[in-house]
């Protein structure tokens, strides 16, 4: 019997790794990968909550499916942006894009 809190732990850990990745990496593709990890961690949460709290309804699973679709849409646009920037700049290092100029 796996307690729900274990899943939440795992999800929080993966989310934190993703968060760290977004803040620490400079390459746009690496940042995008880390964002995917964050979304994925949220999905673990959703499915685990669904299984333990509301297995009779489908809300958690539906939410997870929609998050999957949205992640795909985001990645498509994000990679298109990366490609178009790279074409002219020959770089995807976020630094050289002044990403951190605040």
């Amino acid at each position: 019997m796996i307690p729900l809190s274990w899943y939440l732990w795992l999800s929080a850990a993966l989310f934190s790794v993703g968060l760290f990745g977004v803040l620490a990496r400079r390459n746009a593709i690496a940042i995008l990968l880390a964002i995917e990890l964050m979304l994925n961690a949220v999905n673990i949460n959703l499915v685990a909550f669904w299984r333990y709290l509301t297995p009779g309804q489908m809300n958690g699973q539906v939410f997870a499916v929609i998050v999957l679709a949205v992640a795909a849409a985001e990645v498509a646009v994000g990679l298109a942006l990366v490609i178009s920037v790279y074409r002219r700049r020959q770089t995807v290092v976020a630094d050289e894009l002044d990403l951190l100029k605040w």
């Binding site: 990968l33 489908m58 498509a76």
Partner: protein
């Protein structure tokens, strides 16, 4: 310790290790492949959670479509090796602090929630999953479902627009 718990622990270890691998590898292709491993492991968790449909969607959409797209772009651009770049002095510690803060927060959260160790509700027939999701998507969740389709259309138009060469 039951077999299930052992399986969970091993899988969790793989998931976190592969996430860290993605974080630390300098090679973009390795990073992407580590993430594929992570996604595949997470799919097994979904099977453990009696959500076979999500597990399959995870494999096909995440590990399949999205990561293939990533690998394709990485190789198309020829940016396999991520150049080591100078790090702003405060950036790493700040990132670490923030991530640690979130982790600590969630640990705190979980230890103060005794209710969450409650027993699992009665098992449901795992093969009713896809059908039930389909039904939910086309009845109660019709509106989100349709909006998602619009969202995919917008993303498609946007991606084409951004990468089209004609000007």
């Amino acid at each position: 310790m039951s077999l299930e718990l052992l399986l969970f622990l091993i899988l969790a270890l793989i998931a976190i290790a592969s996430a860290l691998g993605m974080l630390l590898s300098r090679h973009a292709v390795y990073a992407a492949l580590f993430l594929v491993l992570n996604f595949a492991t997470v799919a097994v968790f979904y099977l453990l959670l009696n959500a076979p449909f999500i597990a399959m969607a995870q494999i096909t959409v995440y590990a399949g479509a999205i990561m293939v797209l990533f690998l394709f772009v990485i190789m198309l651009l020829g940016t396999e090796v991520l150049p080591p770049s100078p790090v702003l002095p405060w950036q790493r510690p700040l990132a670490f602090l923030l991530a640690l803060g979130l982790l600590a927060e969630s640990v705190y959260l979980l230890f103060f929630r005794q209710r969450l160790t409650l027993s699992l509700p009665a098992t449901i027939d795992p093969f009713s999953g896809p059908k039930a999701i389909g039904q939910a998507l086309f009845t109660g969740y019709l509106l989100p479902f349709e909006i998602t389709s619009i969202l995919l259309l917008v993303a498609m138009v946007g991606a084409i627009l951004l990468t089209r060469k004609e000007r």
